[in-house]
Point group: C2
Chain length 177, copies 2
């Protein structure tokens, strides 16, 4: 349902109706809308085998390869989780729990960025001018969901273009030489 509505405007009553159940029944399982949203993201992560997808990046032989694999993973993953991410992102403004849940996911993204940057650094391939910290911050920011949204929706980039150009961008920006 979130996917059908771009992550917006899905109410508890809509969900209940779609599940063939009363609105109150939903509250018997999820105390708040945010809790339901968070459960949906967890479910999605499990269903999509988040950890498995990350394995390819972790197994990379070089820093640059790791960076590229990570961008490939992310470019493939974001569109799948986008709608629910969008909903969580919107809820964040008014709901403390949603903000925390979003923070967790962003921390995980940062871990991946950090690992890629450290792999680069260990190869001596981190471009001059960046510390591991600042490079991590940059990569982390490049991969933000709103940026993906902007590029694919407002700029009309395809998923493949996103991956290819993001690789170019990150490589030019962060990799030495």
């Amino acid at each position: 349902m979130l996917e059908a509505h771009g992550g917006r405007g899905v109410r508890m009553g809509d969900i209940a109706r779609a599940a063939g159940v009363s609105r109150q029944a939903v509250y018997l399982h999820f105390a708040t809308r945010t809790e339901l949203l968070v459960a949906a993201t967890r479910h999605l992560d499990a269903q999509l085998d988040l950890d498995g997808r990350l394995a390819r990046s972790r197994a990379a032989g070089s820093g640059v390869e790791r960076l590229h694999r990570y961008i490939e993973f992310w470019g493939d993953y974001v569109p799948r989780i986008h709608a629910v991410a969008r909903a969580l992102l919107a809820a964040r403004d008014t709901d403390e729990a949603a903000a925390a849940a979003w923070g967790d996911r962003m921390a995980a993204l940062r871990d991946g960025c950090r690992a890629a940057v450290e792999a680069l650094r260990d190869d001596g391939a981190l471009a001059a001018g960046w510390s591991a910290d600042s490079a991590t911050d940059v990569l982390w920011t490049l991969l933000l969901v709103p940026s993906w949204e902007h590029l694919t929706r407002d700029c009309g980039w395809t998923g493949a273009e996103y991956v290819a150009r993001m690789k170019t961008l990150a490589s030019r920006a962060l990799v030495a030489g």
Copy 2:
């Protein structure tokens, strides 16, 4: 008031009270909350002399200088408009008019990016691999408000760091050589 609350949680009643006027009086001047928000951004642009601030970038002698001046302008401007931008951004999800107003501002940002990229291209300084369009999209995305927010709030970058590192990033990514 928006600045005091990070652009969130400011209600019509709060505004009225702060203005020493009844809530309904506000509605005599602005039909909707969004209209008031949009008026506030216009007011802010005029007060901050948006056009004047852009002049320095427009007067740049080279493409690279123009790019750098534009990033300096933006890095100085965003923190000043951030709270109201945040509010507009939040309203965008539920309000068509807010989405349109935001779209306008983003289009203006894009125009600036486009001009900088074309200046680079005309100098023959646009890095291989980018078309003017894709380079514009990239720069446009780098400067997005959520990214600025993320870097300054979540990553703890200062305004000066934002400008300096964004210049580095954009230069490495887009400028040849």
